[in-house]
Amino acid sequence: MSQTPKKKNVRWVEEPEIGFWESTFVPAIMQGLKTTLKHVVDRKPVTQQYPEVKPELPLHYRGVHRLNRDEKDRVKCVACMMCATACPANCITIEAQAAPPEWPDRDKFPKSFVLDELRCIYCGMCEEACPVDAIELTHIYDLTGESRADLLYDREKLLGVYDRTKNDPRDPVRTRRGILGPAAEFQQLPALGPATVVPQSDRSAKSETAGVIRTTGVEGQR
């Protein structure tokens, strides 16, 4: 200790003297036996009785993906491939196609959308990247298949997951801007900020969604 240079903010504490009873180890053994005895008497199980009892998962749990449908029951995805770009596991393969002329509000849609559920690492980046809230991760965790090909989820399968989960209170369709999901439900949402500061004198600074282009009234025109 004397060789150690004294440093500021370092306080040296001496080891407490060991007493008689402590040196016999009897109190420590009694303490241990007490814990053991408590477990012998206590019959309440600590493990979850899966699969008879399903676990209560946290609301932000990320499970199998789904592709949402829009109000006209079409696939909501616009095939922008942002999810495939964001995906760190490269598990999304999309082929885009020009939208049919009956869809004046859409430029393109996914001709094929294949998501490899085995390759996916369930990070949720696809959900975050999606500009139209089309891809979402649900609470389904127990996916099984008889082959690898079974777990290549295509567009129809992913839409099927949506049909199965859309009424589940834990998997609401998260289409409202600014609300990410039940886990992120704040009582008061922070104001949406623009990318740069809007001068206070500016007209848009007074609007409730400053810096956000409001396109109400033009939907369906395109």
Binding site: V78, A79, C80, M81, M82, T85, A96, Q97, A98, P104, D107, K108, P131, V132, P194, A195, T196, V198, D202, R203, S204, S207, A210, G211, V212, I213, R214, T215, T216, G217, V218, Q221, R222
Partner: protein
Amino acid sequence: MPTVTVNGKDVEIGASERLNCIQAAAKVGVEIPAYCWHPALSVVASCRMCLVEVGDKKPDGTVAMQPKLVPGCQTPAKDGTVIISDSPKVKEARKATLEYLLLNHPLDCPTCDQAGECYLQDYSFNYGRGYSRLNEPKNIKPDKTYIGDQITLFTDRCIMCTRCVRFTREVSGSSELQVVSRGSHEEIDIFPGFPVNNPLAGNVVDLCPVGALCSKDFLYQQRVWWLKSTNSVCTGCSTGCSVTVDQNDERVYRLKPRTNEKAQGHFMCDEGRFGWKYTHSDQRLSSPEIRTNGQVTSRDWDQVLSSARAALRKTALAGKTKIAAVLSPWMTVEEAWILASFLKSLSPNAVLAMGPVRIAGKDEHFPKDVKGNVVEPVKFTIRAEKCPNRAGVQAVLSHFTGDVMPFEELLRLSSNGQFGAVYLAGGDPESWISEIQAEAFSKVETVIVQDFLASPVLKHATHVLPSGTFVEREGVVVNHKGLAQLIRRSVRGPDGTRPDSRILWELTERSGLVQVDVVRSEIASGIPALAGLSDPALKADGVLLNVAQAAAAH
């Protein structure tokens, strides 16, 4: 020398250089953003993106600035011109301009094909405001249903720079596109019944700084940030346009012209732009073959190559009949050199001939007026000679044989039974030999065919060597005026095929992996007419070989 001051830095410009402020600023590495200005088109100064402060340096050293901002594209840079592009005044003007451009722009970047290479994105990021003050609904115009076979117009994304309109008026001369209506009703449209189907139509897609004009061929195929580009040369005709080949996952998605004043300028024709599809044809030859009496006896590369080599050697040593080769004008200079020098080393009286040079119609010059008459000055030419490297192969052939033997002469000699072994290099994506011509090789003992598509001559082939297309090979091609440019490998060929240079490298038993550079330096020291190939400029925009010699080789 005239001196221009850009943001406090002096730069000298050539006395005869006629530069505007954008070009003068580019000389010191200062970017002045512009949408409507394009070096190959006339100046309209309508986008107002290039507004800069401009002044004059007086002889007594004082600088007199103009009170207003002026468009950089329209203001000539001359001796004593002072350009300021980083003052708060200029920055404010750019912000305001971008804000106006974005007023009615739909901002549908996720579904827009241009996203990632869009000037509206780039300039908004670099010079824009970063937020929008627009609270009113956008004025969104419906997309055009049809404006041409190859291009599509998303009217709402257009920022009215009119580059496309000027292109059809000044370069293609066909004037299909125009601006209809005025003010915020302004949009690009065609004259009814006159779609944009001229042979240069695809260029308007490259010219469009935003995603308004898109190529139907590429539309929604890939996101541009996934594409990997390789600088190469279009092999569609002897103009030899500099291009970039964009590929992803060993699949070519598009060809784009690369600006090269030495070659073609800024543009390329649709024939070349969409003419690479044979690369992914399912008709490609996919395995090497040795055929004995019409039966395939081996599909192994090593066996096929050594058998071909042995056959050539045996014929050369026996000396009863000659060995011959057809060097296709689709070969690179290196490939032609390896093959020619190998055969000449086997037998000094080996016969080398030029493959068929496909000529389709006449050279097509642009701009053309409505009646189809060419308007001077000519800005673009689609050449009738539909092969990339006649001049280069000719230079190699005349080095070895003096006079270049035409293909017909070789066919005549072959039907006379003069040859015991023939090496036929193909490479033309359209048929290069007819059934009747192929008959000339029916009696030849060894017929080695190196090609990537089936042709009538395969019937008589004893060895088939499946080769690569221009996107799978590397080498030099020499265009009509003697400009040597590099084509580069951008994708791997299908399984079972090999690039031509590798086939020839292994056939001639050179050791190690293919080194096209080594062959090129051999050529540069071996053939005086091609000495320029050792110039490092070849790797940039090409080397103009001695035109007189190239012309003499005609």
